[in-house]
Point group: C2
Chain length 159, copies 2
Amino acid sequence: MDQKTILTKIALNGWQTQVDRATQFVNNLTDEELMKEVAPGKNRGIYLVGHLAAVHDALPEILGLGKRAYPDLQPVFLQAADKTIKQIPSASELRQIWTSVHDRLKNAFAEMPADAWFSRHDSMTDEDFEKDPARNKLSVLNTRTAHLAYHFGQLRLLK
Amino acid sequence: MDQKTILTKIALNGWQTQVDRATQFVNNLTDEELMKEVAPGKNRGIYLVGHLAAVHDALPEILGLGKRAYPDLQPVFLQAADKTIKQIPSASELRQIWTSVHDRLKNAFAEMPADAWFSRHDSMTDEDFEKDPARNKLSVLNTRTAHLAYHFGQLRLLK
C-alpha cells in the first residue's frame, strides 16, 4: 500500500468508527430519551442529532461531492440554538435523515480515489492551499471526526 | 512538502488543536467547577481531567518515546470509575500533571521525524502490522484525538 492509501485509510477508519458508534447509540435511544437535555439547561439529544446531520449533510459540498440533500436543516440546527425554534423535524424524520446522510457519505468515500483527499477543499483558494497544503480534504474529514466525537461524548450522557 | 510530512502535519494539527482547546478550558475552570459532575450522576470534571492525563501520559510508551511519568494515575483514573476511590490527586496537582504531560508530548512530537509516525505502534506485532499497515503510530494519535474530543465535549458542559 502506498502512503496516500494508508493515510486515507487511517482517516476514513477513524471517521467511520465514530459514525458507527454514534449511529448504534442513537438507534438504541428512544424518542423520549432523544427529547431530554444532555445536562440541565444544555442541548437536547434531538438537537445534537440534527446538528450532526446538518454538518455532515454539508460535507459533500466542501469535499466536491455534490450538493447537500437537506438544506432545511441548516437554519434549525446550525444557525439557531436549541429551544429557540418551535417547529423542528420529528425524531423519526431525523433518524431517516441520519441514515441517508451517512449512507451517502460512506458510498461516496468508498469511491473516492486516495489522491482526491490530498487536494484542496472547496472553501479555500488555490493561493491559500499553496501556502498550507495540509489544509486538504483529508484535514476536513479529521476535523469533522473530532467534531462528531465531541458531540457524541455529550449524547452518551443521555443513557 | 512530501506526502508523509503533510499527513503528519494534519494529524498533529488536529491533536494540538484539541489539546489547546481543552487546556484553555480547564485553565478557566475553578477548582469548585472541576468537582462538579458533567451531568447528574455522571463523571466529575476532575475525573475526566485525570482520565485524559492518564491516557496521554501513557502515549509515549505506545509511540516508543519513553516511559509514562505518572503511573499512579492509572489505577485511579483508568482502572477505577469515578467516585469509587476516595483519595485522588487534588485539582492543583492534576493541573500541574496536565501541563507537564502535554508539554512533554508537544516537545517529543516536534522532534519526531515524519517517517516514525508510519511505523507500527508498540502494542502490536510485526505480523499484524504487515497485514494492516494503517495501524501505525499516526492512527494511534488520531484515535487519541477523537477520545480527547469526546471527553472535552463532556467537560464543556461544566460551564
